[in-house]
Assembly symmetry: D2
Homo-oligomer: 273 residues x 4
């Protein structure tokens, strides 16, 4: 199978990059499954139903979230009727929506997508390792799921790498999100799981995390409140990774970074061209 | 000028990679200045004088530190007689050693190297932005210094990017360390400063941050104490970045990621070959 | 001298308790100086000019703030013309207002009031110990100031106790604020400085930190957004401490907790009755 | 029933105060149940079997722990054979020992003791609210347990107060530990649960949290390593609270602070004399 994962979409530049380029990429590379983190899609803060629909129309099979899940209040409601939108699975019982789902892809495959949030330097949540273990135990790779994609929304590289190795051999991909900076450590771990500490963001990179520089910098220099943070206005760059899995095992065979757009060194899965 | 920066050396695999490969690289690319972060060089925890000497002999013009600066107590003493070893500049007054130094390179250039530590999710320290501003105000680029390299040892990408843009046009390079994962966002910012959120580590990447996987994972699963963390035993990979500056301005012209060794996608400054 | 310090005023119950009771207490005990922390006076979030005036009219010689200093944007402006309103002294240079002031009391004394913020589990700020040292060095007790009151707005008891002992013998009083719970450790330290880890709040104690219980509890159970937090509606309790100093040295002779109102065990300075 | 709770014992001064005074107090007040937090009993760091035995011999029916549970490695072993020693109940599954136990008292009562750890500014653990709910659901007050005592080992007053109100009417006592400073907010909440944000420590109060002042202060001024922290050497003070419950309901009727020894204002349950 051919999987594509795109990191946190930040505002209009991120959305435009996805909407303009994803349909052609999906077609050109015959992608089986596309997952996008959309926690900053609405002006940098959360997601709304119209934007979620747009991303699905553009080719996302699932959209994941993170610590910004509920920045738009309507998400608490529409997530209940949108099974393709996932919020972290280790939120407390009773949280609206779901944290994992077995997605049927257009090519007839079943992909388990899990969104989970780390705890280091993040909100107080229940154990992400145990939460993901429960999900994949009930939907094992190669038996129920043809592929398993885990979006680990977390700050600390230690927690992300530890989860990657912990799940190595049991899932197709562990990919981090949240830092909005792509890492250059994409690889297939020794057990066959593809791994990347952070997918980076889809957005304007001439910014601080996708948001305009001036106010972002000012908040480090001064401790006074200022204007609302706004997304950058420049052209958005796509950032994420491409994974090819073995159809028999669901494990990864090869992986490549995807970076298309200004500011970053370009990269794409040449093995699919 | 041709500058090379290498990220946190972790244990013997990291040291060996540097010692075996740096002399040839320095020669092959005619490097003017090499700076290495060595905060984890001694078994993952700090640095000692013998190792610091080894790194300088191998070709480092300066060695920077971070939150692990004092893991080896002898560092508190020998840093006073080693002007090429720098600890974060925003440590309190009275801290042994220095946080910035104007280094004379073998090629006759003067490079201001500044080591500074971020505050988000880190120790309580004084303002890193103000601290770096003071250093570069007293040693401006193009007047006193031929190049200025700032090692921002920090956790959060927001703080690193904000410092990068804050210093853009006033220093040659702002490069992050501490996360032990190389980022893929190396670039020249609009004002002419080279930037990369994290240089990654020099060490064994089949680990968690350079330390053996089993105990690192266990500490996320259990909250009980365990054996001391030990560095991985596999072959080390070099990770960092290469920057070429304009001799007239000291600003960056081009930048390339350096990744040589197993596990990571290889990269080097082809423009120097 | 007779000093009274009252902890964080939370909303209308806290303001009412102060306005209704302070004038009589000031008169009854012949107080020389009254300092009140007002960071939550405006509906739990910051302070405005009208409320600040009310507190001064009710008998406050100075009003201190904390991490909620700027919750009401107007405070950034009116603090410049209100020398009796103090914000943490270790905010960055350029922050509006002042962090310390030598107050002339109605009884003809001069009291240095310093507001400082801790760093453990709080915002990233510059060293509070160094910042207070600078203020008292330039205005020493018994020479320039007849009394010195330091409001240490901080979370961690370790940082508060350390500052208390650090300043012992050099100031009249180190009192903590921010936790909204009075501590029972008021005493005169061995060097003559009165100390209390937290003055508690002036507000409705049948709440969580002065704010209504239901939403406060819900936010620990669920990670979804909810209604705005509102102060409790019950009767407010005064909480703080009373200090008597030696007129010759400015150091403390005796100290008593002040707790007047429902829910808490009553306490007041019986030595003044 | 008559319950006594004593806060974190710190080193020898704390142990001596308990051993010398508890037997007489137990006898004088005809105490039904005594619970002591012992997480700092062994030189400030954890507990060992000999000390645990000493405390039980002195009159403790149960000993609770906290973030220092495993500072002495032997605790991982002997806790399995000591049902009166409790560690936080919300540690991960597989953690040695137990977090709650129904204790048979000498007077023939059954008291459920629960030790739980907060998450604000503490280790990453699973939800303390849910963990305590599970324990008391399986051992309800007035049905299975004659009294229920919850030791909430936590930093933030918000989390402690929220747990107090959350459990109000369902347990006899919610008492905080960990800050080593007694609070003055002991009371019976509206639903009948006794509450105190922090029991304070049993130890030498002329210190920082029970540890010698000089090194504690130095660590706030300098970021260099220093000598190991050692407990104070002065006379220890007992700190905690006394609760009388209604035998029919198990809820609290009255509560009083206990503070016996130097430095703190003395307090004891006069209603029992
Ligand atoms: Fe994000
Ligand atoms: Fe995020
Ligand atoms: Fe490091
Ligand atoms: Fe580090
Ligand atoms: Fe407050
Ligand atoms: Fe506060
Ligand atoms: Fe403790
Ligand atoms: Fe503790």
């Amino acid at each position: 199978m051919r999987l594509l994962f795109l990191g946190d979409i930040v505002g209009r530049p991120g959305r435009n990059a996805v909407i303009e380029r994803l349909p052609a990429l999906r077609d050109r590379w015959q992608l089986d499954c596309v997952v996008i983190n959309g926690e900053n899609a609405a002006g940098g803060f959360g997601i709304n139903e119209a934007i979620c629909d747009e991303l699905i129309t553009a080719g996302a099979d699932a959209v994941t979230l993170g610590n910004h899940s509920w920045d738009q209040r309507e998400t608490l409601v529409f997530i209940e009727r949108e099974p393709r939108l996932l919020r972290p699975v280790n939120y407390p019982p009773g949280t609206p929506g779901r944290g994992a789902n077995l997605i049927d892809t257009p090519s007839g495959k079943r992909v388990l997508v899990v969104n989970v949030m780390g705890r280091l330097f993040m909100d107080a949540l229940d154990d992400p390792f145990a939460a993901v273990d429960r999900e994949i135990d009930s939907c094992p790779l190669g038996q129920v799921a043809d592929a398993i994609i885990v979006d680990m929304h977390a700050e600390a590289t230690s927690e992300k790498e530890a989860l990657g190795h912990h799940l190595d051999g049991r899932v197709s991909l562990v990919v981090g999100t949240h830092t909005h900076v792509p890492t250059a450590d994409h690889r297939v771990l020794s057990g066959g799981t593809a791994y990347m500490s952070d997918a980076g963001m889809c957005g304007d990179y001439d910014t601080v995390l996708g948001m305009q520089k001036e106010e972002s910098i000012r908040r480090f220099l001064q401790k006074t409140p200022g204007p609302r943070m706004e997304p950058g206005l420049g052209e958005g760059t796509l950032s994420g990774l491409a994974v090819e899995t073995d159809d028999r095992t669901g494990l990864a065979i090869r992986v490549a970074a995807l970076r298309l757009g200004p500011h970053l060194e370009e990269s794409w899965p040449r093995f699919w061209d």
